[in-house]
Each structure stands twice: as structure tokens, then as C-alpha cells.
Symmetry: D2
Subunit: 346 residues, 4 copies
């Protein structure tokens, strides 16, 4: 089968690879029908993720059709159309039983990282019963690719951790796919304001269309001053960090109101300065989270009910054969205006 393979820092190619096989009774093999590329895949390609070794098939998102199931899989059958979760979870270890699937002792984020992933014609999915979700009839499968990772990430790490509530005020720093996923799912809770902050006018324009109540171009506007103006000098109840660098995290520290929350979503490579000399008496919380995907069943319900439409996050489509071009398009988002690119299997 064909699969996008990581060959060490800076190198990848669409290679012929052997078909995956069932290794454990709880595995399933999924024939992928669509996958996508994540910012994390670009991190791997920079060599920033040492757990991902050369030879690995990348990808941790997608939808497909169950091809084979192990003897321990009773709730899924060949032919079932399924959503692949970016997090593999056994459902049974201490972490899974606390809802922290991200820390599953035999799972977590392993797809396209510690084991081969989904940017391929077929993928082996461990703990299939609790890592695949049957797709209800009538749902747009392409749109559901957004539920593998970015929508649960935005929702759990940003919206739930950030305790977004009716009438509350929210600032989201970073209007990339994750920030936009946070923007979409923050609206589940009817906040009074959602202020998007970015440096890319195109992405801010998208944010406006997606429901932002205000957009701040941080290149041209003093974001702190503008947020204070919009919030009667109080700051926001929830500041979400959706970039992953010190300057944006420290901006969130400046935006959060007394009693509020800084919900970190970004993947950070270096430490940040935490200004406790200003924050110690502000009654705030700072949260971090690798997505658990515990919210996936709920997100499927909201899509099915028409309360959430993930489709507009998709900007480009490529056949698997052109996946290298898809990577190029995705990696030059400022130029290409790419948000999420769909890879379609033959």
C-alpha cells in the first residue's frame, strides 16, 4: 500500500509499504478513505519529536472503513464506517478510567508517532473499540475528519478547560485551525464576546465569519490595550493560547481577568515566563492538556444535531498521490490560506 513515510528530519515521501496486520486481539485494520495533515506532523518533520523514528508512517487523523478486526473486538465489524481518534485509549487503565485517555498507559498519542499512522491506505488502530467511533448514517464523512483531533483539542483544551460560560468573555490567541476549532466550539456555551488575536489578516477574516465578535491584528494593534477596551478594563474570563510560543502565552497572562483562566492549547518547545508577581493574587487558573478525546461522542452528537458544522475548516483537497504537495500547501498557510487539507484515498 501507499503511505507517507517519515525519513528523518526534513525528509518524507509517499512510499510503498507493507499492509498493516493485526498485532493484538483488540486491534482493527481500517481502510482509510480520508486523512489530513496536522501542525504536529510539521513538528515531526522538523525533527522536534524524538519519539517518532525514521520509517514511521505519519498521520493521526481520518475516517475510513473497518477492514479487519481482532478477536477481542466485538462492537465493530468489517465494513463499519469509522472515525479514527488521534488518541488511542484502552478504556481500562487508571488514566482512561479517569477520562485522561491522553495518558493511557498503552495508548495516548501513538498514531503516526510511536506506531504507524493514518496517512496511508490502511492503518492499524490499537484498542479499536475505544479508539474508533462508528459514523452515524447521513453525516458528511469529510467534515468528520475534523473530529479526529482539532475539534476535540479546541473544545477540551480550550473551551472546557477555559470554563467558557454563557455571558463570559473569551480571547483566543492564534487563529490557526486549532484556534478556529476553539472558536467554533466556544459558541456551544454562548459567551458574550470571543476576541480572536492573530497576525494573519486572512485568518482573522475567517474568524470573523466563524463567529468572532472582535478580531485583533497583533501586528498593527496593541492587543492588550484593545482587549481591555473591549472588556471595560477587566480582561477576559478565558484566554486561550493556541500558538505554542512564549510571547503568545505571556500575552494571555496579560489578558486574563481576576478569577479567569488561561487555557493553554499550544505545543511548547521552551519555557515561558510566568509573572506570579502580578498573578499571585488574581485568583486565576492556568491549565494544560493533551487532548483526551473524551468529548468525541458529544461532538458527534452536536454535528448530527446541526449545532456544529466543521466543514468550513476544510480549504483544500488532494488525492493521496499528491500528499507531498498537500504538505507543501499546508506548510505555507500564510500564502495558500490553507486551514485543513483533506487527503482523499483512491
Amino acid at each position: 500500500m501507499k503511505a507517507l513515510t517519515y525519513h528523518g528530519s526534513g525528509n518524507k515521501s509517499l512510499d510503498e509499504q507493507p499492509m498493516p496486520e493485526l498485532l493484538k486481539p483488540t486491534d482493527a485494520i481500517v481502510r482509510m478513505t480520508r486523512t489530513t495533515i496536522c501542525g504536529t506532523d510539521l513538528h515531526i518533520l522538523k525533527g522536534d519529536v524524538p519519539t517518532c523514528e525514521p520509517g514511521r508512517i505519519l498521520g493521526h487523523e481520518g475516517v475510513g472503513i473497518v477492514h479487519r478486526v481482532g478477536s477481542g473486538v466485538s462492537t465493530l465489524s468489517e465494513g463499519d464506517r469509522v472515525l479514527v481518534s488521534c488518541i488511542s485509549s484502552c478504556g481500562q487503565c487508571e488514566y482512561c478510567r479517569r477520562g485522561m485517555y491522553s495518558h493511557c498507559t498503552t495508548g495516548g498519542w501513538i498514531l503516526g508517532n510511536r506506531i504507524d499512522g493514518t496517512q496511508a491506505e490502511y492503518a492499524r488502530i490499537p484498542h479499536a473499540q475505544t479508539s474508533l467511533y462508528r459514523i452515524p448514517n447521513g453525516l458528511d464523512e469529510e467534515a468528520l475528519v475534523m473530529l479526529s483531533d482539532i475539534l476535540p483539542t479546541g473544545f477540551e483544551c480550550g473551551v472546557l478547560n477555559g470554563k467558557v460560560q454563557p455571558g463570559s468573555t473569551v480571547a483566543i490567541v492564534g487563529a490557526g485551525p486549532i484556534g478556529l476549532a476553539s472558536l467554533l466550539t466556544a459558541q456551544f456555551y454562548s459567551p458574550a464576546q470571543i476576541i480572536m488575536i492573530d497576525q494573519d489578516p486572512n485568518r482573522l477574516e475567517v474568524a470573523q465569519r466563524f463567529g468572532a465578535t472582535a478580531c485583533i491584528d497583533a501586528r498593527t494593534t496593541d492587543a492588550v490595550a484593545e482587549v481591555m477596551r473591549l472588556t471595560e478594563s477587566v480582561g477576559v474570563d478565558c484566554a486561550m493560547e493556541a500558538v505554542g510560543i512564549p510571547v503568545t502565552f505571556e500575552l494571555c497572562e496579560s489578558l486574563v481577568a481576576p478569577g479567569g483562566t488561561v487555557a493553554n492549547i499550544g505545543v511548547h518547545g521552551v519555557k515561558v515566563d510566568l509573572h506570579l508577581e502580578k498573578l499571585w493574587d488574581r485568583n486565576i487558573a492556568i491549565t494544560t492538556r493533551l487532548v483526551d478525546t473524551v468529548s468525541t461522542p458529544m461532538l458527534l452528537k452536536t454535528v448530527r444535531a446541526g449545532r456544529l458544522n466543521p466543514k468550513p475548516l476544510i480549504t483544500h483537497r488532494f488525492p493521496l498521490n499528491d500528499i507531498v504537495a498537500a504538505y507543501d500547501t499546508f506548510s505555507r498557510a500564510a500564502d495558500t490560506r490553507a486551514l485543513k487539507v483533506i487527503i482523499e484515498m483512491p
Copy 2:
């Protein structure tokens, strides 16, 4: 009347001061019977608290007897024995209605800071109805002085924010009065382990007596390694910072388990390093809080029910005339083994 007065950095004296007067209908004048000294008072004396100006009477803790009440005070009467909260709260502003008395728009921590305080024969207490607590009959009033500040601080900032639960594991960094108050009130929730970390063997000995399940002398022992040994290499569900300097906060970052909480209690004067490169995917929360004293009624109930005994926090007693000596004793805690010193009024 006599009152301990701040005269600018490094200077204080017991002076004759005019009697306080009712300034607003919601004020009360309390004849103090006992007060105490807080670490914050030492900060003020170092000149670290610019809101506290020379001439100010210090002190924000104590018990006493209502001497006069304003026309707007209907729930308290002259002669009532009362506990003074370190936080003045109106009960009516937006923050008070959210339970954030610390941010009361006309209160907060003002006693002995922005207005004259309790290290005096008489003190004016604003918002008396919601800042004084009538003392139930039969309670030891001296012990209740611990409920003005340190017990609600340890409980709210440490135990509640830290989400201490039955069976959970707790580390408290700093075994001073606040850390010990956290230790006492953490036991409300029956955690499996409470590990105290300090550099003062005397304070650790006290912690052992107060219910710590393990004590670590950070001068002689690698605290991270020892906590990991005690927690099967997982870390603690809750790490409380009760010192207020970078090294102890950063220690907490190293102690916290996935899914856990770092509850900051300390007053910080400089920034700390937040190692998001290690913590971004650990699903943790970091909390800050200036005590709200919303838990004071509950703490009074637990004292009354015999579930909490604050008395052992008191190590020394001085008459008001010797308050300067009391400051000296309190400030040299390593030598004097002082925890809390009671100042008794004539």
C-alpha cells in the same frame, strides 16, 4: 489608644494614636482583645508593599468585642464577640457575589494596608456585617485568631484550589504557618499522603505532629526523587507552594502528577519559569488566589465540631506593650521556633 505603627521601610513603633471613628454607616469599631503578626507584615516593613503608607497602623487579624456600630449595621451589636476577617467584603459588588471577596471593589485586603489595622486597642472594620463573624459561645477565642487569615488562606488557596480528595496525594512546599494551616485543613478530605517539604527540621517536626505522612528536609534530601519514591514515580495529585520564591514554585512543577494541580499560596515578588515544554501535555492546572475568606463560616463550624484544632499553631504570647519584641521573635522563626505569636490587649 496604643497601636503598632508603620513609619516607612524598616521602621515601626508602638505609638499613641487617636481612637478610630465610624466613617460609614456600614462600619463597626471593634475593641481588639487579641491580634497576631503575619508574614505580610514583615513584607510591609521591608518596604515591599507600596500601598501601605507610613503612618499606617498594621495588622489584619484578630478577635475582639464590638464597641460601636454604624447606622447601617443591623446584624451586630455592641458587646458581640467577633472574629475579624483579614478580607473586608461588601457582599454586594460583582466580585463579592461571585465569592471573590478578595477583589471586593470597596474592600479586599485593606486592613493594615490601605487603612489602619488591628494591631491596636481599637480598629475600624468596614463592611462590618460581612467582614466580622460572631463567635459562637464556648469557643476558644485565642485559637480563632488563626481563622482571620492563615486557616482560610491555607484552605482556600491550597486545599480547595488544589482539589484535595480522599485517597489523593499532596505535597506542601513550605512548613511555615501557612503551609501548616494547609496541612491541617487538607486533612478535612482524608488524602492518602501529605508530604511536607522544608529546610527547617523544627518545622518539619511540627508538621509530623500535625499529621504529615512524610517530611522531607530539602537541605539534605533530593525532594523530587523522594516524592517520586513515595508516589510510585507518579508525582502528587496536588503540590502546594507555600513560600513565594521561584525555586519552590519550580519544585512544585516537578512534583505534580499528570492530571494534578499546583496550588500557589505564596506571595511572589518576581517571575518564575514555567516549563511548558514539559507541562503542556500533562493535563495540569496551576492556580493562584488571594484568600477570599468565603470559607470562614465553614471553618468556624469545623472548629466548633472539634474537627479542626487551630491552637497548636500558636507558639508565643506577648502583651501589646511588647509587640515590638513579638515582631522580633516572629521574624527570627528559625531560631525562636515561632509559628504564630498572639498579642494580648490589656
Copy 3:
């Protein structure tokens, strides 16, 4: 001044009454500009509310202009446009500090019940600072009359107690003003389904317009069977009772899914049968609540942000002089299609 006065069971009239006066320093006198009639007023007129004695001016809803304030009122001034809460709360007693304003020891539901109310040209409002809400500029004051009682009631007793969540399923039994207020505010949380059940096709039609995903006419349809059909035989996560009689409460018992909540909103005059022999192992909660109006500041924010539009709840308008006709219209809702009737002051 003119005021609608209760003269004992079955009797009321628009009478000339003396102007209200400030009785306590915390009182305010409000010149009412608009009020409305509540189902509870009809209960009083049936003689069902013994705390309301003949001679009482009725009404506990409305907006107006501050006419005079007591000496203890510092946050409101003459001329301020204000919303009157149906619940008077001191903000300072034990219940108020727990957010249970409904049980305020010197307040609660007293307006138009234990003290004179708002269906008058002027009304005395006790605990003015915490029972009146300044109206932000630019808001439609008529629409805000809906925030005195029915919107917080539907939201707190129905939506909050019922734990409505994104993707959850909700049934509301009773499509009168309170049920519709619950329907409007349930949408703050983006549930997947909101099923309205009533016997009045007109009200169900309104419910459909207000966002119900399904409407069941209980005269012609087996409501239990239909709800089970709509929920894949599971029942609803939240069943709200918005009528106040045994048959509708017992219907809710039949609708609730395992793990769900029956949120009672209705005012009940007799006991109901609780089928614990069916429910003991269903892991459900049943909640009751007299509205606390703690959510009023939040509701004002959502109105201001355009997330909530209370206006369509208003169906009729009458001048104060015609308030008796307004009562007639409101009491014959099945014929007149009345939801809420606005009474406009001269």
C-alpha cells in the same frame, strides 16, 4: 398613586394608594415604567398564597427609574434606570452568601406577596443594591421585564439545575411562559434536542419558532412513546417540569434517562407519586428551586451581546389603567394566545 390591589380571594382592583416610603436605609423607591403579570399572581387571586394578605399591591416584575434611595444605598442614584428582581436579597446573610437569594433571611420572594409590589406607579424595593440592576445603555427596557422573573426562573430552575450540556437531550413539559423561557435559555448550551410537550397547539407552534427541535401535543400523542422514539429508547438527559401538577411531574419521571435529571420548575400544591421502585437504580437527580436570580447579571450580558432575545415572549400591551383587562387576557391564555402581557405606566 394607582396600584393593582388584592382584596382577598377572587377580588382585585386598580385603586388609589399612598406613595411608598423609604422604611430602611437600604431601601429604594422606584418609579415603575413597565410591569407584567405572573402566573403566581393568578395563584394569589385564587387564595392559594396565604402569606399574601388583602390590601396588598401585587406584582414582582418590572423596570423603572430610581426615584429615591435610602442613606445606605451608595451604588444607585435617582434617575438610574433599573430592572427589579422578583427576589429581594440582602447579599449578606448566610443564604445570600451561598447564592441562595430565594432564602434570604430578610428577603426572598416578598414583593407583591409579603410587602407591596410592582403593579403600581411606585414601589419600595428593599435591599436595593442587591435587588435592582442598573440597565445598560441601549437595551430595550420592555424586553428586560422578562428578566425580573421568568428568564432567571427558566434558566436557574430548569437549565442550570437540569445540567443542560452540548449534545444533550432535553424535554420540557409545559410550553407556557416559564417553559418557553427554559427553552430559550437551554439553547445557551447547544443541546442536541429540545422536545416541548404541551396540550396547546398554539404554544407548541410558538415553541417551534423559539427553537424546539420537536413538539409533542400530549392530547393526541403518547408523549412517553414519542420521546423514547426520538431518543433511541433511552429517554432524555434532562426533563423539566414547567406546569406544577402531579401528572406532568410523573411524566418527567417516565422520560428521564439513566444518569439524567428531572428539574422541577412548577409550583406544586399537592404531593406527587415518586416511583422509586423504578428509579432507585437509575442514577438520576430530581431538583427543586425557587429562583435565586443569581444569574441576572449573566442574563443581562447575554441580552446585551445579542445571545438572548426575550422580546418574543411579549404578546400583549396594556396601559396601567387597563390592568384588570390585562389580567383577564393573561388568565385566558388558551383563547387569547397570551404569553406575557406588558403593563405600561403613564
Copy 4:
């Protein structure tokens, strides 16, 4: 092997039965070392539990040693000492993922009910990985039998649902094993008062020893009046029903304070009267729950930490050969003073 077998209403005997066999890859066979008898077993024997058919081996509690594991069981091995949970849970269905193991679609309370149980030399345990708990070294296994059912039941249905908090007031109606388990675990949260109500002076004496702050003999004392006296006429924050009949549930309705909770624990066979005419405006919650045993890992931690000692719940011991006598002793608890009887395997 020998096993206590149900032969229809009123009939049971210790019979020779075939050894259980692994039926699914996720099963384990446990050689039981100790089991016990539950009030529910007596219900079955009265013919009240139609899901339990004649021929069934009774029992859903106990500890033992893993004898064989299915091919899908990787976290347990032969020879492991294990605690059997009364609830079988797959950990993977929608209910299990919400923590509602009691409603597991392929589990729940099935042991000794829908499938053969634990009052036997060997028992088949479905979903072994998530229904058995390895016993930490050094723990008293006999005491752990109390963790199969009654301690999680008292804790989850009574204490957690009842929201017991530091300083709160609790009444427990029924001082049988479940009520006493609630009493023991309520103390995890340091309530100010725990008032036990029963009609058996012996059980009340036990309750006193177990930490009750007051005991009421309902035969000789007006329980409502006495609880009101003890709570300054407010009632209790949490009233737990641990009997299962209308009169005790309705007593709880009379005991609960505004804002409080009635936590039902009892198994009910008939409806009760819910006095909504008195309760609709009291802001209370009523909860029901079949134990989920989600708290079992936590309870094991508290036992291990010495925060909970289940041992005193055990009053009698019998060898398996005398299990019929053990049933007799257990069923005549008023005479025999039996709480829990341990059945020891040969």
C-alpha cells in the same frame, strides 16, 4: 465445587455445582477465598428479584485468587490476589465511559443475579480487567470484602451524591451495614454532624462507636423534632435513606434543609409520596443510584493509607459449609447483632 444455590422463592442450599469455565476472552475464573451475604441476597430469596432465576449461584462480593484468565486479559495473571467488584463493567461502553458502570450495557449488577455469583469455591468474572482489583500487599483481605459492595455503595450513593462537605450536617436513616458504610465514608469529608436514625439500639450503639455525633432511636424519639433541635431548626444538608421503604424516605424529606440533598441508597419496592407542595421552593436535590464502584480504586487507597478501617463491619465468620447458618444469622440481625458475616472458603 460447592456453591450456595437459589432454588426459587424461599429455597436455597449448598450444592455441588460444576466448575465455572471461561466463556469470553475477557473473563477470569477466581478461586474465592472469602465472600459475604448482602441484604439483596435476602431480597432474591423472597422472590423479589425476577432477573435471578432458580439454579443461580448467589453472591456478588468477595476476595480470591485468579485461577485462570481469558486470552483478552493482559493485566491480571494466575495467582493474583483480587477483590471482586459487585458491578461488572466493560470500561468501554457509553455508560462505562461516563463512569456509570452500574449501567454497563454488558455488565452492571449481574453476579449472583443474571449469572452465577461468588458464594462458591470458584466464580467466573466477566470483564475481568475492569471488574477485579489487584489487592496491594499487606492489606487485610477479609476487611476488603467490605469493598466489593457496601463501602462503595455507602460512599457513592450516600456520601458523594449527598455532597457531604467539611462542616456540613448529615442524617443517615438506617444503621444497617449500608448506613454504617455511609457513616464511615462520610467522615472522609469532616462533616460537623452525622446523626444516625434507626430503631435498633444495638445498631445505634455501633454507630456511636463508628463516629456518629448523635444517635436517634426512632421508636422512642420524634426524629424530625430531634434533628431540628440538633440543627438549630434548619435541618440537615444531607439526608441519606439507607432502608428502602416509604416511611424512611419520607422522613428524609422532612429532615433536609433548604439547599440540601436527599441521597437515596435503599432499594425500593413501592412508590413513595414526594411532598412537592412543601419542597418545590426548598432548592433541594433528590438523588438515586445503583452503585457504580468507580470509587473502588480510591477506597483501596484510603484503606491502604489507614484512613478507612472496614474491619469493624464484620461481626461473624462461618466456613462455606455452614453458609446456610450464616444466612440465618444474617437474616436475624436484630437478634444476632450481625452486620456483615464472612464466609471463609476451605
